[in-house]
Structures are given as structure tokens and as C-alpha cells.
Amino acid sequence: MSELRARLRRWREAVEDRLPPRWNRVLAGVVIAIGIALPFFFPPTSGFMNATIIAVAYAVMALGLNIVVGFAGLLDLGYVAFYALGAYSLGWFGSGFFFKARVHVLVSPTQRTLAGVHLNFILILAGAALICALAGILIGLPTLRLRGDYIAIVTLAFGEIIGVVAVNGQSVPVGGGMTLTAGNLGISAVDQPYIPGIGQFNLLDLRPWYWLILAILLFVLFVNLRLRDSRLGRAWIALREDEIAAVSMGIPLVKTKLLAYSIGAAFGGMAGAFFGTYYTVVNAAQFQFGFSIFILAMVIIGGLGSIWGAVVGGMALGYINNYLIPDVLNNFPSHFGLNFQLTQVEFGIFGFLLVIMMLLRPQGLIPERRRKLELTAKIAAEDAQLAEVPGTAPGPS
């Protein structure tokens, strides 16, 4: 087994040697070009396009969570809170929900005639990122002095509280007969994005939506890559590996951790705002604990701390969740005489994936370089130890 693995490694190294230098940058360029051209190969409203848009948005969320869990090593089980806040930022500032107000900033002529607060989608996107960043700090503050698994519980509790507030927000007045949220009814008729110079988006043509979320993904990806290699990124990784050592080396614990929470949250908020407008409704029932685990599963399957892993994990689970399970495999159990559909047990499937992944390939599909080195270095050390034993057995006697 290990022989096979070693041979595979040798092969891969040989292939990598023959590739031109910086080949992975070229590869990234090719992938991005294919990504941009993708919609031309599918009908504008196909189910596959829909699944792709959702998968890309999931990848954005996974990238955000990856900063918190992967880089900084803070297990966040309440990430759905930022999805909720992002979506509600859109619901509040891009719909007729606050019907007493009349605020219009850079919106299309038709939207300008409507009651409510209507901001341009790009502004809402920035606002959602800001709101979520603040919320991230708020959630981060009480967890600073806690250890790993307690952090998980506190973030989970925050996520649940946000969920409860979202459901019950219907009975929270904010003045003038308006309420905080629309609960399980949902804030409907939210604005579709309008970009001056490009035009109004609508759901009859999914291509602009796809390019929009792809642009968001590329932006988030760029920020992620730069952050990882920055001083801050190294500080996160140092904290993850050994908090005491990192702090004694002069890394500011509070600032570094809070930045991880707030930046991770901001990306989640951006994806949340996009989902709000794309699903055309902001419904409290969307914000379940299961969603936090779903995003976590993306990060883990991709490889904790690995940026490309988060993208691949997010896309993969997005397709599995929105295409493979509902459209392709849904009636699979009925072939065996089982009376249920796969969509009913999708979270069970993700739970199963989590367990299997952790047991069999804890480093994920595309492991982070550092983690991979750690794992292989450990194997090498163990091999050396094993080799030492028969050598010493005859001894100098």
C-alpha cells in the first residue's frame, strides 16, 4: 500500500518536473476562462445553470468559513447566522418590506417608483459584508477566552438565537407598524440586482446572475489568497497550531481572532445577500442549524485550511445538493423497495460524508500544503523509527 503510494508520488513529481514553471497559475487562468465562458454552452434557464450558480455561491460561503475554521482553527457551528444576516440585509435594504420608508439609491427606474428601502445591489453587498463583519466581532468576543469545543457551542448558540429571532421577528415591532422580519412567511418581492450601465437582472436569463456570483467568487478568492500569504494569515495559522507559543511570540490574540471571525463572516454575508436576491425571498426557514453543518462539510471535504479545497468542496456539495440528489438520484432508494426519497435524508448523507471523510482522509480532497507536509513528515518520521528498530536489535554486543 505504502509502496503504491510512494510510486504515485514519484509519478506526480516527475509530471510536475516536466510542466512549465508556474503551471498552476496557467491552470488557474484556464479554469477561470472556462468558468467565464461556461454559460454559453447551456440554455439561459437550464437546471444545470441554476445548480452552478448556487454551487458557486456555496463556494463563496465555504471560503468565508475556511478563514475561521481552516486558517484560524476556530470551529464555528453558527455560520448560518451570517447567511441569515446577509440575506436580511438584502431583505431590509432591497425590497418594499419597510413600506413606510422611501429611500432609493442608484436603482432602476421601475424600482424608483416603489415604496420601501431600495439600494443598489452592490451597495447592499457591501452593507451585508459590513453588518456581518460587525456581527462576527460580536460573536467572537465571548469566545476569545474559550477553548476549541466551547467555541463551537457558543457559535452554535449564536446561530440558533439568530434563527429564533428570524422566525419570531414578525412579532418584534420596529415602529410604524413594521416588523423586524417576516418570519416563516418570508420577505418576498425583493429587488433583482440592477447595475447601472449593464441593466436589470431577471430570472428568465440566468447568465448575468452567474457572472455576478462568479465575480464575487473571484474577488473573495483573491482576498483569500492574499490574506493567506499575508502577515495576518500567518498569524492565524500560528494561532491554530499553538496558541500559547503564538501569543508569546507577540501575535495579538484578540485582534487576530476577531479579524478571522469578521472577515469570514463578511464573505458569508455577501453570499447570503446574493442568495436573498436569487431566491427572491428571505425566509426564516432557510436558516437552520443544518446549513451551518452543510457549509462546514464543504470546508472539511475540500481540506481544512485549503483555499482551492474550499472552492472544490463548495462546488461539489452544491452540485450534490442541488443537482445530483434532487434531479438524478432522488428515486434511487425506491429501486430497492425503500419508501423514501433521498432529498429527505440529505443531511444524513452529509453527516455520513463528514464521518467518512474524517476517518479515511482527514486532510480533505485538496489538502493544504502545510498540513500535507505535516502528515507526510510524520509518516517519514515513523518510517525512520521503524527502520531503526531492526538496526539496533543486533546491537553492538
Binding site: 475554521v69 482553527g73 470551529l75 457551528l77 465571548p142 469566545t143 477566552r145 474559550l146 477553548r147 476549541g148 469545543d149 466551547y150 463551537a152 457551542i153 457558543v154 452554535l156 448558540a157 449564536f158 440558533e160 438565537i161 429564533v164 429571532v165 422566525v167 419570531n168 496558541e243 500559547i244 501569543v247 508569546s248 490574540l253 442549524f289 443544518g290 453543518i293 462546514l296 472539511i300 481544512l304 423514501f340 429527505q344 435524508v345 443531511f347 444524513g348 448523507i349 452529509f350 453527516g351 455520513f352 460524508l353 463528514l354 464521518v355 474524517m358 476517518l359 482527514p362 539496533t392 553492538p396
Partner: protein, 395 residues
């Protein structure tokens, strides 16, 4: 001759086992830079110490005291006589809420013990524990069907039937918990702690979906076998219902038996030793793996018992009940001081009361938020809980 490797004492590698408890604050657990704190920082630390000691007690007392005063001053509607609302100014209403809360809390206590035992021994939040409790409920309701227990069953048959249900359910859930440990946690014993926590979450979802397929996605009502709402007697306006007696009648003997097991038997001593220091325990000839399995067995059995009581008491079961109950019970375990069995019982009872008060006074839709608010407050004010001992630092 090669020089022999120096013998390392296991104690040397450990963090100081127990910081000075006379300080007794959460502040001792923080990792602070070595620079001596400036005056404002010192004042802040004093505030934090004070908040840690009293803040939690104030927070816990807030709800009952507020509603007690509210009832005394403003009164509450005790009933309607001849079209007129009868307003009472006494504490009977609060007493009823508290009695109901305590009996609910007895169920949470049984679940919380499972969390606390497991956390005490391997420092893992067993996320799947709440769902083991749910499977316990489902199993016991299934067993009623097998034994033919129904509303028409006589008292004797009911007693024996429920007793048999209790024992079988406890065995099933205990075995399930041991199985989960064997499959999902033991292979990751030496992996980073995050790994085991993630498999725990994964197993929680798997069990939930097992429950979903077993009994469908919506809450199901089950026969009210023992007429839980029937009042047995009344003390000072507080009605003691059958359900309350059931909850305590199951919880107290089990907790006593558990205490006896942990403190008086050889296996119990092995558990305590492993919780203190697994490495040293192994050196003393304790089979650590078997001891951990035993801990999961005990936790699972108590969760099964809680499952039966829950089904009898609430008269409806749901695949999602385990998730909610698990979080509530975990809050209870943290509140009492995780790793401490007595703390778990105390925390369970307190959380039960908080929950009942929130249910009755603020509306059940806010209960969850209130309970989780308390969870966060505990984490901020006193992460080691009411009766908490300093727990061993994780590696």
C-alpha cells in the same frame, strides 16, 4: 553501550494540574501576555472576577425573582368565575411553573450526565448524545407496541411493561452509544480534537435521519399511558402531577445508582482515574479503552431512560427532539460544571426551571433563544460552571 534514554515522568509534561483555587476565577484560565497589567487592566480583572463569582447567580435568579415580584404586585389571572377574571396575588403560579420546570429538568439532568461523563473522560462534546436520547424515545415507544401497552392496560401490566421497556431501552441506547464511540471516536483518539467533534456532528445527523425515516418528519403523539397531567396532591396551591413524580422517580434512583457505581466500585474508580490522567491510569493497569466504552455505555443508558420518561411525559416524539434536548442538556452540563455529575443534575434542574418560566411567561417560541442566551452568559461569566472543577488541560 548506548546511553539509556532518560526516564521522563509523565507529570513533568503536564500543565500544572490545579491552579490556586482560592483565586477561584475564570481569569486564571486565560492565556495572557506576560507583561504585568496596568491599573485599568487590573480593575477590569477585578470586575471580571466579581462578575464570574456572582454574575451567574444573579443571572440565574433574575427570572424567578422578576416573575415572583410581578405576580405579587400585578397579580395574575387564576381563572374566570361568572365572566369575571379572578386575579390572585400570590406565588402559587410561580410555584407551578417551577415545579413543572424541575420535573422537566429531571429529564435534562439525565441527558446532561451523559455529556458530563463523556466530557470528563475524553474531553469530547458528544454531539450525537442528544440523538441517542431521541432514539431512546423512539425505541421505548416501539416497545410499547411490542408489549401491547395501551390506554386500557391495567396498572400491574403497565408497571411491568414500562419497567421492561426501561431496561431494554437503556440496553439499546447504551449499546448504540458504545458503538458510536467505537466507530467514530476511537479511531480519532490521537487526531486533533476538531476531528472527533466533526464526526460527532456527523453522527448526530445520521441518527436524526434514522429517526426521520423511522417515524416521519413531523411530531407524533403517543398514548398518554400514565395520565401525566393528573394531579396527585397539592401543596400550597402548587399542583404535583403524576408526570413530576415519574420524572423524579426515575431520575433519583438512577443518579444514586450512578453515584454508587462511580464512587464505590472498581470500575468506577477506573473511570475516575482515567478522567484524571489516562496515561497514568494505563500505567496502573487500567484498560483505558474498556473504561471509555463503559463511560459511553453509562451515558447512553441514562439517555435511554430519559428518552422513555420524555415520551411518557411529553406524550409526543419527534426526530428533532434530540437536537434541541441535546443542546439544552449540554447547557445544563456546562452550567453545573462539565465533568461533574452533581453539577449536571443541578444544571439540568435549573435549566428546566428557566425553560418552564420562559415557556409560560414569554411564550414557547422564545424559549430556545433564552436558553441559548444563558449558555452564552455562562460561557462569558463562568466557563467552568457552578460546581465546576478545574478540568485537565487538553493537549
Amino acid at each position: 553501550m548506548r546511553p539509556s534514554t532518560p526516564i521522563r515522568h509523565p507529570q513533568i509534561r503536564r500543565a500544572p494540574a490545579r491552579p490556586d483555587t482560592s483565586q477561584g476565577t475564570v481569569a486564571t484560565r486565560t492565556i495572557s501576555p506576560t507583561r504585568p497589567p496596568a491599573a485599568p487592566a487590573r480593575r477590569l480583572a477585578a470586575v471580571r472576577r466579581y462578575a464570574g463569582r456572582w454574575g451567574l447567580i444573579v443571572a440565574l435568579a433574575a427570572l424567578p425573582v422578576y416573575y415572583g415580584i410581578h405576580d405579587l404586585v400585578q397579580g395574575y389571572q387564576a381563572g374566570v368565575v361568572a365572566g369575571h377574571a379572578v386575579i390572585h396575588h400570590d406565588l402559587a403560579n410561580l410555584g407551578n411553573d417551577i415545579a413543572q420546570g424541575l420535573s422537566n429538568g429531571a429529564i435534562w439532568a439525565l441527558i446532561a450526565i451523559g455529556y458530563t461523563l463523556v466530557y470528563g473522560i475524553i474531553e469530547l462534546i458528544n454531539f450525537a448524545h442528544g440523538d441517542v436520547f431521541m432514539i431512546g424515545s423512539f425505541t421505548s415507544v416501539g416497545l410499547w407496541g411490542v408489549f401491547g401497552l395501551g390506554l386500557t392496560t391495567g396498572a400491574l401490566g403497565l408497571t411491568w411493561g414500562l419497567l421492561a421497556t426501561l431496561i431494554i431501552t437503556m440496553i439499546v441506547t447504551g449499546a448504540l452509544n458504545v458503538l458510536i464511540e467505537r466507530v467514530a471516536y476511537r479511531p480519532l483518539r490521537n487526531a486533533p480534537k476538531l476531528a472527533a467533534l466533526i464526526t460527532a456532528v456527523g453522527f448526530s445527523f445520521i441518527l436524526q435521519n434514522v429517526g426521520l425515516l423511522w417515524r416521519g418528519g413531523s411530531p407524533q403523539s403517543v398514548p398518554d399511558l400514565i395520565h401525566v397531567q393528573q394531579t396527585v396532591f397539592t401543596i400550597g396551591g402548587v399542583q404535583i402531577q403524576r408526570g413530576y413524580i415519574l420524572a423524579f422517580g426515575v431520575m433519583i434512583p438512577l443518579v444514586i445508582a450512578l453515584g454508587w457505581f462511580i464512587n464505590r466500585t472498581r470500575a468506577g474508580r477506573a473511570m475516575r482515574a482515567t478522567a484524571q490522567d489516562p496515561e497514568a491510569a494505563r500505567l496502573m493497569g487500567i484498560n483505558v479503552n474498556a473504561t471509555i466504552s463503559l463511560t459511553f455505555l453509562l451515558g447512553g443508558m441514562l439517555a435511554g431512560a430519559a428518552g422513555l420518561v420524555y415520551a411518557l411525559y411529553q406524550t409526543n416524539i419527534w426526530f428533532f427532539q434530540g437536537f434541541k434536548a441535546g443542546l439544552i442538556a449540554f447547557t445544563a452540563a456546562v452550567m453545573g460544571g462539565i465533568g461533574n455529575v452533581r453539577g449536571a443534575v443541578l444544571g439540568g434542574l435549573i435549566i428546566g426551571v428557566i425553560q418552564a418560566l420562559a415557556d409560560a411567561r414569554m411564550g414557547p417560541q422564545w424559549t430556545e433563544a433564552v436558553v441559548f442566551g444563558y449558555l452564552i452568559a455562562i460561557m462569558v461569566l463562568r466557563p467552568r460552571g457552578l460546581l465546576g472543577e478545574e478540568i485537565r488541560e487538553a493537549g
